[in-house]
């Protein structure tokens, strides 16, 4: 099979409230990615946008940002879900033989909608929705199951928050740049037991874009590509009460597929950096297990060991992760961008020395139902 590489990346700074419209954010991210790749829009054969009608507050939300993404007289389509799935579809189109280059761009203005009501609408309208569950209250149910089944504690969750917020301080794109302590997390406002304020990601505005190319398309660009070495995506079942909330088997399946493609046998050793979707602190521990970085039920031991810190064996979320900025729909693409910057050696003061292989991860649906995984390398 032919290879696809990442030849350009661009993102806005993530903030609690941006004054630009979301189309303007899409234009900013797209033009930054084009500038990073050293090309104009004429180098782009087709475009994938990521939109969601609930977050944008309009039907056919995809039609509102097409011009801002450079769609004029080009093939274009829209994925509704996390940006990592947009990148996956972009990769498929890049390898299809129809196009050599693809621009993938995602946006959200969390500030313009109501997060609780929007995520409440993920739940089944007949049996669940009018009980009022949302992303946070159901995440709390998952965190509790995980604690019960593995012995992980609220303090373990706090360690994730402390680590990622510590990393975020050095990331100019992060929304929350704040060094915090375990005590700060433990004493922060109760949101939904066992989750406290600092266990939860913020509401954010922002956009992100990447440019993908086949080998044949490379001559249009100035930078060396970061190659996509392996990908996988998979969904678990929907009904929370019938899903093992403490074992992300869909992530396991997605990761194993990506590892097989990328020739990775021991991810903890073979990967140099991981960017995963920590919408809530506890999720990072669950995703450690799903990604095979820790044995089943032992996610907490990995954070306790310090292995995933900036100086550890496998730094996780040097960007500060989703806890430091959570532009929904964008966040998975932002993980892929950070992974790309790390492999390029362009991650500034948060650079992991000598990073050659990186993993990026995104999620869809309640409590991380579906997962997308990219393994990339120089």
């Amino acid at each position: 099979m032919e290879r696809a590489g990442i030849v350009g990346v661009g993102q806005t700074v993530y903030e609690r409230r941006k004054e630009d419209t979301f189309a303007e954010l899409v234009f900013e991210a797209s033009t930054k990615a084009l500038a990073d790749a050293g090309v104009g829009i004429e180098a782009i054969d087709n475009i994938i946008t990521v939109s969601n009608d609930f977050w944008d507050g309009r039907t056919i939300s995809s039609m509102a940002i097409q011009d801002a993404a450079g769609s004029w007289d080009r093939d274009i389509s829209t994925v509704e879900g996390d940006g990592i799935f947009g990148a996956l579809y972009g990769m498929m189109r890049t390898l299809s033989g129809s196009f050599d280059t693809t621009l993938v761009v995602a946006h959200v203005k969390g500030s313009e909608g109501n997060m609780n009501m929007i995520t409440n609408s993920m739940f089944d309208p007949i049996y669940q929705r009018h009980l009022g569950p949302d992303a946070t209250s159901t995440a709390a149910l998952q965190a509790r199951v995980y604690m019960e089944k593995t012995g992980a504690t609220e303090k373990d969750f706090a360690k994730v928050s402390v680590k990622n917020h510590g990393n975020g301080v050095k990331n100019p794109f992060a929304q929350i740049k704040k060094k915090i302590t375990i005590k700060d997390v433990m004493e922060s406002r109760k949101i939904a037991d066992p989750l406290k304020l600092y266990d939860c990601s913020p509401i954010s505005d922002g956009a992100a874009a990447i440019i993908l190319s086949t080998e044949k398309g490379l001559k249009r660009f100035k930078k060396d590509p970061v190659w996509i070495l392996g990908v996988g995506h998979c969904s678990d079942s929907y009904n929370l009460g019938y899903r093992d909330l403490a074992w992300p088997r869909a992530l396991d399946a997605a990761a194993q597929k990506a590892y097989k493609m990328a020739g990775i046998k021991n991810p903890l050793k073979d990967l140099d950096v991981v960017e995963l979707y920590d919408a809530y602190s506890y999720m990072e521990l669950l995703w450690y297990e799903g990604l095979g970085l820790a044995p089943r039920g032992k996610g907490a031991e990995l954070i306790r060991s310090g292995a995933t810190g900036m100086k550890g064996e496998l730094p996780v979320n040097p960007s500060g992760g989703v806890l430091s900025a959570h532009p929904v729909l964008v966040a998975g693409l932002a993980r892929l961008i950070e992974a790309t910057l790390q492999v390029r050696g362009e991650a500034g003061t948060r650079q992991i020395k000598g990073a050659k292989k990186a993993l990026a991860h995104g999620i869809n649906g309640p409590c991380g139902q579906a997962h997308g995984v990219f393994v990339i390398g120089a």
């Binding site: 099979m1 032919e2 189309a23 969601n52 009608d53 609930f54 507050g57 309009r58 039907t59 056919i60 995809s62 039609m63 509102a64 940002i65 097409q66 011009d67 801002a68 769609s71 004029w72 007289d73 080009r74 093939d75 274009i76 389509s77 829209t78 994925v79 509704e80 879900g81 799935f85 996956l88 579809y89 498929m92 189109r93 890049t94 390898l95 299809s96 033989g97 129809s98 929007i118 609408s121 993920m122 089944d124 309208p125 007949i126 990908v231 996988g232 995506h233 998979c234 969904s235 678990d236 079942s237 929907y238 009904n239 997605a254 869809n364 649906g365 309640p366 139902q369 579906a370 997308g372």
Partner: protein, 397 residues
């Protein structure tokens, strides 16, 4: 280079005003089970799933996640694509690219809608820009009426010309057991008389000049599913696979006020590109059947000109000369088309599936008699989003 891809199976539910006996997930399941049966596969054979609908028609966020128990997506790669009215063709195109990339061999494409569950026009109004257009421009009907009256005035088109398209679509639907509208009363009445009835009847309410009730598509509950397979397996799975000869799309406008009302430029550009890619030089001669997303009658005149089937202003002649009837040179919408069934997120995928059935010669009572080498498919949606696909009987070289 990418893999060649074919449609090898298709399933759909019968269109109805309201499927009260099933919820959305259960409706999706009916189409998936039918498509698997058609291709003689089980869900275990499917490598990936792609699904689409329009969020605000059912009010369910992350439909791909919500529906996995019905779609067969449990422990499979799945995501959602959605582009408004074009969603169904967009899903088909996504399944095509899944397979063409070489990453998956057998991909299930699902489109569905339960339009009975919301206020369709209420939801469509929210497609317009909340600051600039939502307060002063309403829904799909008024926008299409603007296009129709402009076309009528430029080319001297009459209401009878529009009604002739409506009559064709409704007569064809009588042959399609899956169509939503079966206007049995039309049976046996000469076409001229039916046209006369439609433009003079008081019961046929004028919605927005020149569009009457009969010029529009219905609101439908239905689901459809198609299976796309790679060249490595397609010939083992179907006696006559329907090969994707080309597919492309255009979408140039973000604001309704920017749309070029003279011609359907996005459709014209996409069709031209798709014909080039498929090696089609004379569309009218080389294409054997069309399944077109014609949401209202006048589209069956004006857009035929934009696809390149005839010169500007000659759409009515093509239709009155019976070229687009079942036994004409270019049968259009043997299924009865969108004007006979419009479960929006499924509508485009039904066009693809119906065209595939024509190539496979599995279309039963709505099978066109002539041999079909190429079938032309379109999807149409918000702000003149244009998806097109050409299916062929021969494996593309």
């Amino acid at each position: 280079m990418g893999k060649k891809v074919a449609v090898v199976g298709f399933g759909q539910t019968k269109g109805r005003s309201a499927r009260k006996d099933v919820n959305g997930v259960e409706l999706i399941n009916e189409a998936v089970v039918a498509a698997l049966a058609d291709a003689e596969l089980t869900i275990k054979d499917i490598d990936a799933v792609v699904i689409g609908n329009m969020d605000h028609f059912e009010g369910v966020n992350y439909v791909d996640s919500w529906s996995v128990e019905g779609s067969g997506g449990v422990m499979k790669p799945i995501f959602k694509v959605t582009t408004g009215g074009t969603t169904g063709t967009t899903v088909a195109m996504s399944a095509y690219y899944h397979v063409a990339s070489g990453m998956f061999d057998k991909v299930l494409a699902i489109g569905w809608e339960k339009n009975s569950e919301s206020d369709t026009t209420g939801a469509i109004i929210t497609a317009f820009d909340p600051v600039w257009e939502r307060p002063n421009l309403g829904g799909a009907i008024a926008g299409l009426a603007l296009e129709a009256s402009k076309y009528m005035s430029t080319y001297g088109i009459t209401e009878r010309d529009g009604a002739r398209v409506a009559v064709r679509e409704r007569l064809h639907a009588l042959n399609n057991p899956f169509a939503h509208l079966h206007q049995e009363w039309m049976k046996g009445i000469p076409v001229d008389q039916l046209v006369e009835l439609l433009v003079t009847s008081k019961e046929n309410v004028m919605l927005a000049y020149p569009l009457r009730m009969s010029d529009m598509c219905p609101r439908t509950d239905a689901a459809a599913a198609a299976i796309f397979a790679s060249e490595d397996v397609a010939e083992k799975m179907a006696a006559v696979p329907a090969w994707v000869a080309s597919t492309t799309n255009r979408h140039n406008f973000a604001l309704a006020g920017d749309v070029d009302m003279d011609r359907n430029t996005t459709m014209a550009s996409a069709a031209k590109r798709a014909f080039e890619k498929a090696g089609i030089k004379e569309p009218l001669k080389e294409i054997g059947v069309c399944e077109l997303y014609l949401p209202y009658s006048y589209a069956g005149l004006k857009w035929m000109e934009d696809y390149g089937f005839c010169a500007y202003g000659e759409g009515p002649k093509l239709v009155w000369d019976k070229v687009t009837d079942m036994d004409g040179e270019l049968p259009v919408n043997p299924s009865g088309g969108v004007m006979s069934s419009n479960p929006i997120g499924a509508t485009g995928l039904i066009r693809v599936g119906e065209a595939a059935l024509q190539i496979m010669r599995k279309a039963g009572t709505r099978q066109v008699q002539k041999d079909v080498n190429f079938a032309f498919i379109t999807g149409f949606g918000g702000c003149y989003w244009a998806d097109v696909m050409v299916l062929g009987k021969k494996k593309p070289s």
